[in-house]
Symmetry: C2
């Protein structure tokens, strides 16, 4: 339970819409701002927001006790720069942004006195975007990472963790922004780079006729929103380049063993891989 | 329907067991040879073979009208070298081996006059092995590739295709052994190398706490039977090395664009990836 009833969602896409659905179900008063009137209409018709505005309506912004931003990173920062002063003192602000260091400190600096930004990353998504594809089912079994800084109060951190639980995430964790970006550079951004490179590496059109499940699984995320991911990659450039290099080194190690016919070393890499993969099995 | 009733499975593991289940259900007489008596007992108790032998029983081998070999590649070749003479003239032999060029021609040469080997690759599997995990469900939606050579008769090719259909595969296709190995080098072997390298590239034990579905999907196949896959990789070395190099080149291209902040080129790669991935969606 969160002790704030009035929740404003800014950006009513896949994630914003899924937040709205989950929180309306739990009895909160959920309102939304999104430039697309059709997204607001969809949410109103389906009863998961009680009010919406395609403009930045000062009354609506001031009404919020908790504001959740589900925007592209640069749009989020610009929004706060332009409209942050409309947030009422005492409001808690959180987000869904997939990179943290490049956003968190700047937003904390931009917000007016008395408005606290506690950042979070819900690690959930789908290959399709838009409010029409939103569903709170995607939070089940997934991780929710809170990324506090020194500026955050224990109260705001606790509230943000409670939000993750209300949304239905399986695990709620804390990481500092830098460690978060390192983790996400490996677990999410590198894997997207790999999936993309797999799709562009071989252009034989007949391959789809022969594919098995493992290839489909590896490339599911190769269907990608290029605007969002290019932005996320560039905002985490240094860490992502380091992860690409570490991975390439390992792949090249396997290539060398293979080329040399070094059976023992190949098997050793596979044994390490098998053991380590067991740690990652989903615990629901 | 296949016009041969007596089917012998040699090697009663995950795949051999799954063949036995599917074919027994369809009314064929299925018998098996496997050195592990416990595997035979399991299949007998569960009613998906009618008879089994832990030895290479000449009467059992001679009984077969169709023999399916589900063994490691080198074990398969050795078996045929030692016991191939026990197969009755007129018998059709097929297999499940994951590489073809290194096996097909040799086995065709080793078999006695009148026994025809038509190779096939059922592109289905699980992360767990053994007859206890066998299930014909894994063939649904999957591909079955027949890889004929110039030595094969139209009758044997047709029978092998019919077998793929009887087993419940969604698509039955033909490829020559060389083309098969190229395809499998990319779609299956390269993806396994990637999954292994992802698991060995980062040894932070806390990562599992933060992982999302995309990482789990990419590394599902990182839990790997090191004996079998090392053998399969080495038997397809030249093609696999070429696929690793093509993939590494694309990943490095993304790294360069990222490092240079080349937004347009990054987006272009992602657009190509997205378009191409759409071809691979499962059509059931």
């Amino acid at each position: 339970m969160i002790d704030r009833k009035n929740i404003l969602i800014v950006g009513l896409g896949l994630l914003g819409g899924s937040y709205a659905r989950a929180l309306t179900k739990k009895g909160y008063a959920v309102r939304a701002i999104d430039p697309k009137q059709s997204s607001l209409d969809y949410a109103l018709e389906n009863g998961f927001i009680e009010k919406g505005s395609a403009e930045v309506d000062p009354a609506l912004v001031g009404w919020a006790e908790l504001a959740v931003f589900a925007l592209y990173p640069h749009v989020f920062v610009e929004w706060v720069r332009e409209h942050g002063h409309l947030l009422a003192p005492g409001t808690i602000v959180t987000d869904v942004t997939g990179v943290k260091s490049a956003v968190v400190y700047e937003v904390q600096d931009l917000l007016p006195e008395g408005v606290e930004f506690i950042a979070a990353h819900p690690m959930a998504g789908r290959e399709v975007g838009g409010v029409e594809n939103s569903t709170d089912a995607m939070f089940r079994g997934a991780n929710y990472i809170v990324t506090p800084t020194e500026k955050n109060t224990p109260e705001a951190i606790a509230l943000c963790r409670a939000l993750g639980e209300e949304l239905g995430f399986a695990k709620v964790r804390e990481l500092d922004p830098d460690k978060h970006d390192e983790m996400i550079g490996f677990l999410s951004q590198l894997t997207h780079c790999i999936a993309i490179s797999l799709m562009t590496a071989n252009t034989d059109p007949s391959l789809a006729d022969y594919t098995g499940d493992s290839f489909r699984d590896l490339t599911r995320i190769a269907r990608i929103n290029e605007d969002m991911w290019t932005e996320l990659f560039l905002l985490n450039k240094k860490k992502l380049v380091a992860e690409i290099d570490a991975f390439s080194g390992e792949l090249n190690r396997m290539r060398t063993y293979l080329n040399d016919g070094n059976t023992e070393k190949m098997k050793e890499m596979m044994r390490v891989s098998t053991e380590r993969r067991a740690l990652f099995d989903k615990k629901l």
